[in-house]
Symmetry: C3
């Protein structure tokens, strides 16, 4: 028989005992469950980063996986502890938006507020629902307890900022207004422009530019108004992979999230370009005679 | 059948191969054991912090769990490698105090010095008993080897500094001398004052103050002599949870360890107040007309 | 039946979702495999450090373990994704040298280039072969798929810099030219001088020095020419373990890798001596009348 999987995603860090306390609580209820860490180094209180990590990682797990998320600055306040049954997963955590990206992506089927103390630890603190509510509920769920046992059904959940659900604005075949949805640990700058969108525009552009301008570059502007005084001093050649430019050179490519990314081969593009998650930018595509050196 | 659980707590960090070497040694002896990390980011050589993490986390694990602790600055010296059978657990590590908080909390039943090389790796180094002694002994124990096989029984273990076993001193219904026993990664300042103690004093105080001074504040002094010149410039309103004050404001509350804590909502109180683990402080409780703003 | 073990070693860090994405992919194919982290905090793009960690840790795992290594700055370029069957293990990762130290140590039996897309994820990106190729191949291998199914056999792999395969140069019974092969998180300076080599030389030296000069010291020079002006101002007494000198004092000893190391008791020798991995140095052994104070 397959072991059940419970994943953990928190902002607890890896020095304090909080993560392993949750593991101890879970294993005391179900000693055979397979506990997998997604991350415990989400910047403290960063609900948006947590939502994005859950969205990107959670959907690669097998059907039936129980995802427990504790990024919970409002613990003990009126924010509800909830359990969401999506098409393929169970999401357990606070109703503060951190569950929303994956929940909507996978498709919400049922939402419950966790209000049946039968499945909590005996004493529920005001400051650590990860230990007292989320961990034991996840463990009991992995033992086969019915969803409706955990609390009352509710109809909606809190979402995070619209920016993370929004699409880029296509101004013309070569102009796009877009958002930065994440910066990863390599300094890759991840946009909300899908591969499909950018590849379609590049194809259109190629049909219209001179035959010998076969290399595509992307010029990026800080802000949303294509203001030349705010353009970055480098342009990004559009490439397949990091190693298509020399070490230290910038490039644009379709990253592993399936979105347009700006990167620097074996270096940290975000740091050098001072771009942050949540930034709104705009870009222009153009053809050029020469590759692969930056201009 | 339940899989046996071995937890690991070290100061090895997560770059070097030392932690995974221990996991490889354990799995080579018992491939079916469930290895759970408590933490590997204990500050190097910090026996007190390690003891505190083990104390807080270890007791949430199921009965029969084998806890292996390697914070071992005296490795290879005359300090003994030991195995403690407590009421519910097995603790394996160096006899330098790191095991003592959980051992005394849970109740010591038997102590053995590990001196039977049959259960060690073939060659025992002078510098890495985690690999050569503690990991293989834990793995053999998880396979059902009898405790008395591992070495000779001994009668006592080393304790860490008395401060971590001591109680606060109650000077009057509103004055307490106390210790800081831990600062966590959120900057929460954890005292040795139990919930029971502080709530009893607050109840007494409420009986004696004016009816309209229903909000309780805590004034904290650096040192143990209630010297006004050493009082912190802020007082801490006593609240239920972080979110009961505005973001960035200070508060006092019963934390998840069941002790009085001083915190700052979504910020790092310890950093701003320059308070460290081991500090001895004193405090005064008083009633006030107004809440919830800090004064 | 024994669960199969897959280990993971990457430079992905522990904030981003990349590691847990790989775990999700693996568990979706084989939900019963035991996934063990070796490290995810290898400095980004540091193939040599990754090779060294794999070499040191990987060989402690049980026979049949599948080691997956993703330190892969050339992902998507012409470097091959490969699977190596060594005497005891399976190594999966990019052919950039990161697998070579363990592969040669354990003994290479077969090498395959991974070119059968049947065992990849449906869409293979140009930037994340850890998710798209290495994780699913490892999971299918753990399910019993034959090696020859994954791709074509090839004859050789890329090695890392010769320095990590080279032996020290013995100039005389008391002079050695050697390399620094690693600095660990404690600041221990690990040389390529084996215990066997150094102990043999010390024995010879003891036969030749005056009877009362029974304490052995090691004098270290930056560079390879025994130039007195480049000698370190401290000499290292040769000891059994850290605790044989006072806290903060330097020493030389046989470390847990089985090589000569230079250390500082409860402090960071590498930081204080400004020595780095890859440094080439030389040393002289000599006898002295007194111990254990540094001179």
């Amino acid at each position: 028989m397959k072991n059940k999987i419970i994943t953990l995603l928190t902002d607890f860090g890896t020095i304090d005992p909080y993560v392993s306390i949750m593991k101890g609580v879970i294993l005391s209820i179900n000693p055979n469950v397979n506990i997998i860490d997604i991350s415990h180094n989400v910047p403290k209180f960063d609900i948006v980063k947590g939502a994005f990590i859950l969205f990107n990682s959670g959907r690669y797990f097998p059907e039936g996986t129980i995802h427990v998320i504790v990024i919970d600055p409002g613990v003990g306040s009126e924010r509800l502890p909830i359990l969401i049954k999506t098409k393929r997963y169970y999401l357990i955590g606070p109703d503060n938006g951190v569950l929303s990206l994956l929940a909507y992506k996978d498709g919400i089927e049922k939402i419950y507020t966790l209000n049946n103390p039968k499945y909590f630890l005996d004493r529920v603190s005001m400051t650590f629902h990860g230990r007292d509510i989320f961990a034991p509920v996840a463990a009991h769920l992995s033992m086969g307890v019915n969803l409706s046992e955990f609390g009352n059904e509710i109809q909606s959940i809190k979402k995070i900022d619209e920016i993370y659900f929004s699409n880029p604005i296509i101004k013309s075949e070569c102009e796009i207004i877009f958002n930065i949805i994440d910066i990863d640990g390599f300094g890759n700058i991840i946009t909300n422009i899908s591969a499909e969108t950018i590849l379609k525009l590049i194809k259109k552009l190629k049909d219209n530019i001179k035959k010998d301008e076969k290399f595509i570059y992307i010029k990026v502007y800080k802000g949303v108004d294509f203001d030349e005084s705010k353009s970055l001093s480098i342009s990004f050649p559009f490439k397949r992979t990091y190693d298509d430019v020399k070490k230290g050179e910038f490039l644009a490519l379709i990253g592993s999230h399936g979105n347009l990314e700006f990167s620097q081969n074996q270096d940290n593009a975000a740091k050098h370009l001072k771009i942050l998650p949540g930034d709104k930018l705009c870009l222009k595509l153009y053809g050029n005679l020469t590759s692969p050196k930056n201009i």
